[in-house]
């Protein structure tokens, strides 16, 4: 089958809040309103809509219809998407697929989460208590901490190297008015913050947050007609976790390695072509391991890579220019869409003080879901080019 090229014509997002002053529905509406205005289209031109939200934490069934109804966006195919932290990115993936396959000429993917008002407020997220490891007390922070512990045991890296990720991302966040946290932090502050799960301290774990983000995609014809700066979705790659309970190497992000390969193949690019990455840095060890999983350095060399400034401005590739989940905060279902909004701004050259110089190609990456026996439940990646 011949797929059509897909372009991003409009993006919008709210600030990422520690505690949003409005409801989850309203966060979604604000993001959509901004995206439609950004695209310069009539809302009635949107032919299909997908909305990602984690685990029904908004307390609503058919959350998308609730958000979109009073904006007059009903009457088109609409589907609610749930895959934990990957929800918003999968919503954009489905919008992409509709345009690529000719189902729609204009489609929209949205991610929304209001964790501060949900039953997850004030807690660390944990696997389902029906999972054999869930009932034993594992938390998401605990599982990532075990990756870190094994990595530090096997390779040349220290907790200080992990702290460098948090410090770098906070430095980037200082240039991002959409971020929850902007105050600079030092390595000493990161290391002396209270331990959540050894070796991860509180400043190596992303804070819960609230936010909404929307991405409108369309055919090349439509994008040209609107006269917008062209941002193409060169790859939209989605995969799921594979169940196993043998000796998985926890220092390798298996699902991300698979998803990256698909994305690079689809876009016809490799790590040398990429200028920036928005990755799933829910924990500092995550970003660390994604340097390797995406091919920016060899397995076991992430410590050297961060110490030498590889993933920073002036280095090989800028990781988390908006400050990542570590500083922006992590409104779970929103994050995947928010990363695509950031990458779009960067490719258009509209990212202000945090602009990645001459940004030509960007990766967004978000996994999702702690499910027993899986590396992660979902992984969604996009490669955007101008």
């Amino acid at each position: 089958m011949n797929y059509r090229d897909v372009y991003i014509i409009g993006v919008g997002m709210t600030k990422i809040y520690k505690k949003a002053p409005v409801t989850a529905d309203e966060l979604g509406r604000q993001a959509i309103h901004t995206a439609v205005k950004d695209a310069g289209i009539s809302p009635k031109e949107i032919q299909s809509i997908f909305i990602g939200e984690m685990g029904g934490l908004s307390g609503s069934v058919c959350f998308g219809q609730r958000v979109c109804g009073t904006l007059g966006l009903g009457g088109v195919p609409m589907a609610n998407v749930e895959s934990a932290c990957s929800s918003g990115a999968i919503a954009v993936h489905l919008a992409y697929k509709d345009v690529a396959t000719g189902k729609s000429d204009v489609a929209m993917g949205i991610g929304v989460q209001h964790l501060s008002s949900s039953r997850a407020a004030g807690t660390g997220l944990a696997p389902d208590p029906r999972d054999p490891e869930g009932i034993q007390g594992a938390t998401m922070a605990g599982i990532y901490a075990m990756r870190a512990q094994r990595y530090l045991h096997e390779f040349d890296a220290t907790p200080t190297d992990l702290a460098l990720v948090s410090v770098k991302n906070r430095r980037h966040a200082a240039m991002n008015p959409y971020s929850s946290y902007q105050q600079p932090i030092t390595v000493e502050e990161v290391l002396s913050a209270r331990t959540i799960a050894d070796p991860l301290t509180m400043l190596m774990c992303c804070p819960n947050a609230d936010g909404g983000a929307a991405v409108i995609v369309a055919t090349k014809e439509k994008a040209l007609q609107l006269g917008s700066k062209l941002v193409r979705i060169a790859a939209s790659s989605l995969t799921s976790g594979i169940f196993r309970n043998d000796f998985r190497d926890m220092t390798e992000m298996e699902i991300t390695i698979r998803c990256t390969k698909k994305a690079y193949d689809m876009a016809g690019v490799g790590p040398d072509d990429i200028n920036m990455v928005e990755c799933h840095d829910a924990f500092a060890i995550g970003e660390f391991l994604y340097y390797e999983a995406m091919g920016f350095c060899k397995h076991g060399e992430a410590g050297h890579f961060i110490r030498s400034g590889g993933p920073d401005y002036g280095g090989k590739v800028v990781f988390s220019p908006r400050g990542g989940l570590l500083s922006c905060g992590h409104p779970t279902g929103c994050t995947g869409a928010a990363q695509i909004v950031e990458a779009t701004w960067q490719l258009r050259g509209d990212a202000g003080a945090r602009q990645v110089p001459d940004c030509k190609a960007a990766i967004t990456h978000v996994t999702g879901g702690g499910v027993y026996g899986l590396d992660n439940a979902a992984c969604t990646m996009h490669i955007l080019t101008r």
Binding site: T123, I196, P199, R244, D246
Partner: protein
Amino acid sequence: MEEQVIYHPDFFVIPEGGEKPYLIAFRCEECGKTWFPILPYCPNCWSEKFDKRELRKGKLYTYTIMYTPQKGIKPPLAFGYIDFPEEGVRVGAQIEVGADVEKIKEQIKIGMEMEVKAGVIREDASGKDVISYKFTPAV
């Protein structure tokens, strides 16, 4: 005595008469892959026939000490993955190292031999103690 709930009776055995407790892994008779805990079908080949394998001693692959565990569990909580090389299975569970929780970190090392024991792993939603498997340094 407070009421207690034993979790996973189908793959965790506490023998009567003081023998050490053990876990049961399930080896697929068709493809030879081993799974823990019990599954209705082999995820690899969909066979429904399994041999039972006893898991008693393994090696610590990695661990953490959680200071912010789930509700119903008192911190600090040590948790680790234990590899059983013969059976090809990894099991994640709580680690118990003794009464002195302050020194917990000094007592756990990657690669150390661990064995199965029984103990209270948490309170359930109604406040009852839940008894299940844990790991402890092998003696």
